[in-house]
Symmetry: C2
Subunit: 192 residues, 2 copies
């Protein structure tokens, strides 16, 4: 399928890499220690790092990311207050990243699915569904195909401007989990 | 249980009224034609009307709404473009209504559950769950109890500021349904 490079080695990075690998894609990881020196070999590049770590990757790899699909999975919360996002009102982390990478196709995905639900492929009996937003139809369909090949559902959630709503959903879901109104194996399931 | 007055007689008004009635609450409706003349008898007042119709209700009933719980179910979309909300970035319809009704306890609820899922009480095999946000713990717990008595799950989704995220979720859900990525009997299920 695809060649995927994943920045990050945490729970989300591993869960996402597992889905792609199961779908037959080649997957390479770049850890925080390797970031800045290891080359990007994939055509799909997943930023599976906390939002504050994204800026360093963009400044180190901006030229290498040109022409590639860059997948932003972040939920840019203010983790001190858990009451707001650190991106401008009405905007999104994905929009900020796209502005910094005008020659890349930025896609928002995986920010509304907890790691455990990507591994289990189900959430509350419903199939886990990755919501994908972006302005490049080609980038979205290639990503959706690579996710689906790994046994996880994926749907087109619209233009990159919908990343604002996806990040609001991710924000709300995180606050519910932290307040134990839902569990980390639950969350918002997409029922079709 | 509670005394509920519902503005509106559409699908959502009927579905919401059905839940409350089944839980033993008394339910009265005020139609668009009666609005401005019919008195509000309930302590919980549900604005089950399109967002553009809210302003007229507030101006006609502002004084009568003092001291009451006002439930905002709206999704304030720009229905011409389906690409934005008509409330200021970072704000919400619920926050605008609270600002107009400083003596009422405004609660956001029912904007993330399609009517069919309130009637069926399930969505994709999971129990339908109403997300309730507001700044009055008392108003929220009374509302949650009245909904739960009607056989539908309800959870506290946080302060009224979370209405921004709930409206983003409702917005995204509507765009997915309009684009037929999900059905009107589906949507975002809350898996606990």
């Amino acid at each position: 399928m695809a060649h995927v490079t994943i920045f990050g080695t945490g729970n989300m990075a591993n869960a996402i890499g597992g889905v792609f690998a199961e779908g037959g894609s080649s997957v390479t990881y770049i850890s925080a220690e390797e970031s800045g020196t290891a080359p990007i070999v994939g055509d799909i590049v997943v930023l599976a790092v906390p939002y504050p770590a994204v800026a360093g990757i963009l400044s180190a790899y901006g030229e290498q990311l040109a022409g590639k699909t860059v997948v932003d999975i972040t939920n840019p919360l203010n983790f001190e207050t858990f009451d707001s996002l650190v991106v401008p009102a009405g905007s999104s982390a994905a929009a900020e990243i796209q502005a910094a990478l005008p020659q890349s196709s930025v896609v928002k995905a995986f920010n509304t699915t907890f790691a455990a639900t990507l591994v289990a492929k189900t959430v509350g009996g419903a199939p886990t569904t990755v919501q994908v937003a972006g302005d490049s139809a080609e980038a979205k369909s290639a990503l959706i195909a690579a996710i689906a090949a790994g046994g996880v559902q994926a749907i087109d959630a619209g233009a990159l401007s919908r990343a604002h709503e996806l990040e609001a959903l991710g924000f709300l879901q995180l606050t519910l989990a932290v307040r134990e109104a839902i569990s980390w194996t639950g969350g918002f399931a997409v029922v079709r």
